[in-house]
């Protein structure tokens, strides 16, 4: 039995006339650019509020035109090509970073596939296109985007960008594995890699509810994948100045910023599509309003979900400090990958048993009951077990002598500074030290 046949939505794609394809492509492009322009202002505003500042408020009402002003300013700056740069690659890198960032948005569904809306008299799905391998395509374009960053770092002929570029490639490929594994669990449930079919298969329940571990792994991996705080190590300002884009100026630099924010929008859209029901209305609305999932309305829901996830990115940036590189790699390789592998095995085992018609409650009883029994026994053993004798209270620490090594040192945790000499009587030890006498311990 192949469940995918139930959501056969791919037949609706690849039938648009050329002008409609062009219109939709321009819409996708404009949507991304506008979302980025607004997201940058919104990010600066939100981070400012979190830090009790006002944020940009000079350009346009409420500072809304700030990003536009930034863009114009960048365009009027000198376009530097540093001396040590590999010129062709250096110029190509920002272009290579920007193009795939836009392209991966092509398969994001804004609405149901059933030709529900009519654009200038042509009924069409609210989605540029869909492929049987849409998710594979998104992963592929995301990987090409990494080339832009690595090549930018390498071709600058400078130390900091090189370090930033290498860091970023290691980081992105590490987190891509966790991301790919979290997708696999979704494919098991949807029976398809096409985005429209994945949304269609989330009919009663979102995959974020069915596959919570995959969802969490994806959320962590998407922040790592887009080089955003707290995982913004490739451009760690404190260590690497600006990372891979240190040597870039003018609109070339703007291309990297644009690519980063477009990638944020794309991974948010993928997260909404795979786990948060895509264009479906959120739960309370869908119960009482039949039309919420039809016509043009789905576009509202997915834009809302994307905006919420973008806010989540900003929130993370305003809250969390940057990780150290070893902590970051440890999280990726030692936590996310094993967790998502074990979770995938669990999901597939449960699903296969259910498909084979095993009574799920019985299976749960046979597997879960011994597990629960073992846990219970362990708990009881832990409670009953005689606690090891408290080690005898450590002898009161010897009086701390800041001058023991011949020069003053600060106290370690648990040690206390001797009383201030002028106010209290000096201990004999301190007195000795101050007099330059030798100390008692060795001699």
């Amino acid at each position: 039995m192949h469940l995918a046949a139930a959501y056969d939505t791919l037949a609706f794609f690849g039938r648009d006339p050329w002008w409609l394809v062009l219109l939709k492509a321009v819409f996708c492009f404009a949507f991304l650019v506008l979302t980025v322009l607004i997201a940058i202002v919104w990010e600066r505003k939100v981070v400012a509020w979190m830090q009790l500042r006002i944020g940009p408020n000079r350009h346009g009402p409420w500072g809304l035109l700030q990003s536009l002003a930034d863009g114009v300013k960048l365009a009027l700056k000198e376009d530097l090509v540093v001396k040590g740069a590999d010129k062709a690659v250096y110029i190509l890198a920002p272009i290579v970073a920007a193009i795939p960032a836009f392209m991966s948005f092509a398969v994001i569904p804004f609405g149901p596939a059933g030709n529900e809306v009519s654009i200038f008299g042509t009924r069409t799905p609210l989605q540029l296109t869909d492929l049987p391998i849409a998710l594979l395509y998104i992963l592929a374009t995301a990987s090409v985007g990494i080339y832009g960053i690595v090549l930018a770092g390498w071709s600058s002929g400078s130390t900091y960008p090189l370090l930033g570029g290498i860091r970023s490639s290691a980081q992105m490929i590490s987190y891509e594995i966790a991301m790919g594994l979290s997708f696999a669990a979704v494919f098991i449930y949807s029976g398809s890699m096409s985005t429209s079919e994945i949304v269609a298969s989330q009919q009663p329940t979102w995959f974020a509810v069915l596959l919570p571990v995959s969802f969490i792994v994806y959320i962590v991996a998407m922040v790592g994948e887009t080089n955003r705080a707290p995982f913004d190590l490739p451009e760690a300002e404190g260590e690497l100045v600006g990372g891979f884009n240190t040597e870039y100026s003018s609109l070339k630099f703007a291309m990297f910023m644009l690519a980063e924010y477009v990638n944020m929008v794309t991974v948010s859209a993928v997260a909404s599509t795979l786990f948060l029901g895509g264009w479906r209305a959120p739960w309370p609305i869908s119960t009482f309003w039949e039309g919420a999932n039809h016509g043009w309305w789905p576009m509202l829901w997915i834009v809302l979900k994307i905006q919420l996830l973008l806010f989540f990115f900003i929130w993370l940036r305003g809250t969390l400090p940057r990780l150290r590189y070893d902590q970051f790699m440890k999280l990726g390789w030692k936590v996310l990958i094993p967790v998502s592998l074990v979770w995938l095995v669990m999901v597939s085992a449960v699903r296969a048993l259910r498909n084979e018609g095993y009574d799920f409650t019985k299976v749960l009883l046979y597997v879960g009951a011994p597990l629960a029994a073992v846990l219970l026994v362990a708990l009881i053993a832990d409670v009953v077990r005689k606690k090891p004798e408290e080690p005898p209270a450590a002898a009161p620490p010897a009086a701390f002598d800041p001058m023991a090594g011949g020069y003053p040192v600060p106290p370690l945790p648990g040690q206390e500074l001797p009383p201030v000499p002028r106010r209290r009587r000096r201990t004999p030890q301190l007195q000795d030290a101050l007099n330059g006498a030798d100390h008692s311990e060795g001699s």
């Binding site: 891509e176 997708f183 030692k334």
Partner: protein, 119 residues
């Protein structure tokens, strides 16, 4: 139109925008020559001379790249299996569990030998 064609259309728009911006920047910006401006940035000190081709970087990154290939290939095998999971049944599950276990052995070995440690 082919379902793949719209991707190319979007790619063409993005390419036109990106190339256009980079070309435009070289026209709109000022050009004032300054020797120090074209040096590599290193917080104001004389930049370290760079060997041709970027020089060396830690061997760790090669290890990460090799491990990535191992797991990426695992994922490549997982996807078709996951998509046709319901059709494969218990047989597919057992086969894939064997495969995952095999890769997991390699993973455990790398972990134990310290291949996943930084510093």
């Amino acid at each position: 139109m082919n379902a793949y064609a719209p991707i190319l259309v979007l790619g063409a728009i993005a390419a036109a925008f990106a190339v256009g911006s980079v070309v435009m920047a070289s026209l709109t910006g000022p050009k004032r020559y300054n020797r120090a401006k074209l040096e590599a940035y290193e917080c104001g000190i004389e930049p370290t001379p760079q060997p041709v081709g970027g020089g060396r970087f830690p061997i760790k990154y090669y290890l990460t790249a090799m491990l990535f290939i191992v797991f990426d290939i695992e994922i490549v095998f997982l996807y078709p299996w996951a998509v046709s999971f319901d059709a494969l049944g218990i047989f597919g599950l057992v086969e894939m569990l064997l495969f995952i276990a095999t890769v997991f052995v390699a993973y455990a070995y790398v972990w134990r030998r310290g291949g996943l440690e930084w510093d």
